[in-house]
Symmetry: C2
């Protein structure tokens, strides 16, 4: 047996501590950003611990990180509350996100491989499906997936981590505002963005792709603040 030598953590059923942490963190962050936990929701540590079959300790570890990132706020004796995004924070984060999106094209972009172009075409297909039958939650999910895809185009790890952090910090206000927006127009605009990004990648021009993304972040913010 030359392969499965000393490998105590290789059992598929058992997850390591860090793996469990990542799972739980991603799950809770997703629920917050998809408004399964709208702002103001009280996240009881005991309730979460019971749901996930662990004690309060690992749950608290995850909530502490979410608190550091500003997604929740723990108040002694009250509860851990999902925060709301105020206009000022929204403005600051979007202004910075625009700049970072552009920088992703110039700060050590990754070479555009055939696999990446194929993935981009998949996103084009998904966006067309979305335009045909718009749905807020599908929209938000596709948006997150496409954002993660964009992160992988960036060779600067610090820039990628920062962009991700900022994205999830305000991602939920879009779902909060969508009832007052034109969903079909939003979907069309998003599909355009994806098509243009795919075209730029086909032309092996990551810088152009980054500029497209910056432009659409800007326009999305405009629609968000003027029509809500």
């Amino acid at each position: 047996m030359p392969d499965d030598a000393r490998r105590p953590a290789a059992e598929p059923g058992r997850l390591s501590a860090e793996e469990r942490f990542r799972k739980l963190y991603a799950e809770l962050r997703g629920r917050i950003c998809l408004l399964d936990y709208p702002p103001g929701t009280k996240l009881g540590e005991e309730a979460l611990a019971a749901e996930f079959g662990v004690s309060r300790t690992p749950v608290r570890r995850v909530l502490a990180r979410l608190s550091d990132e500003g997604l929740v706020e723990a108040r002694h004796g009250v509860g851990t509350i999902v925060t709301d995004v105020d206009a000022r924070e929204l403005s600051d984060v979007y202004a910075l996100r625009m700049e970072l999106a552009q920088l992703a094209g110039t700060l050590s972009p990754r070479p555009v491989t055939a696999a990446i172009r194929a993935e981009a075409r998949d996103f084009v297909d998904r966006s067309e499906t979305l335009v045909a039958r718009p749905d807020p939650r599908d929209f938000a999910t596709l948006n997150m997936d496409f954002f993660d895809f964009g992160l992988r185009l960036c060779g600067n790890a610090a820039l990628a981590e920062t962009s991700e952090r900022l994205y999830y910090q305000t991602a939920r206000i879009w779902l909060q505002t969508i009832p007052r927006l034109d969903l079909r127009r939003e979907a069309t605009s998003f599909a355009q963005e994806i098509r243009q990004v795919a075209a730029a990648l086909d032309a092996d021009d990551p810088s152009a792709a980054a500029l497209v993304r910056r432009a659409h972040i800007s326009m999305s913010y405009r629609r968000l603040t003027t029509e809500a």
Copy 2:
């Protein structure tokens, strides 16, 4: 007694939980960045708990945040180790820091008040004192203080938080490299930076101050990587 009405948390001796957390976090981050804990040091939770007179629980909360920020790495069964900064991470972070430093001048800069100008002059004095008698640790401390000062010039909270995070992520490599650098020249260059920033603030031109800072980050990185 119209002033001290219902204020249970106003007692000066007792610190709230969040206050204690901030204190401990700042203390440990400072020790790491000032190389009191050089890379590779094992930070025993029990030892820290004993030193600060608390249990392992709040210590673990602080170490978890330091771990999220990449300053330490917790290994099950081994210990919590102070991480080292590798060349790749250093390059990425510095490239991003340069851009962010420039953005601080254009993305909603704060108005330059008389108090700020006075503070800048104080930094000029301190830098001259440092040039007269250079000392690595004093240098690093002044650098941190001046950085914190620069953060307060930025009206964009997201940009300020991001810049701070990135700064402390790689701040320690400077102290690690200084034995192989010309300390006097580093001090002179830093004093020039402070003077130029103060001049730009006197001229009510935060954008120029930001450009100066970007230029000095770039030069500092060049000296760091070429002569070490």
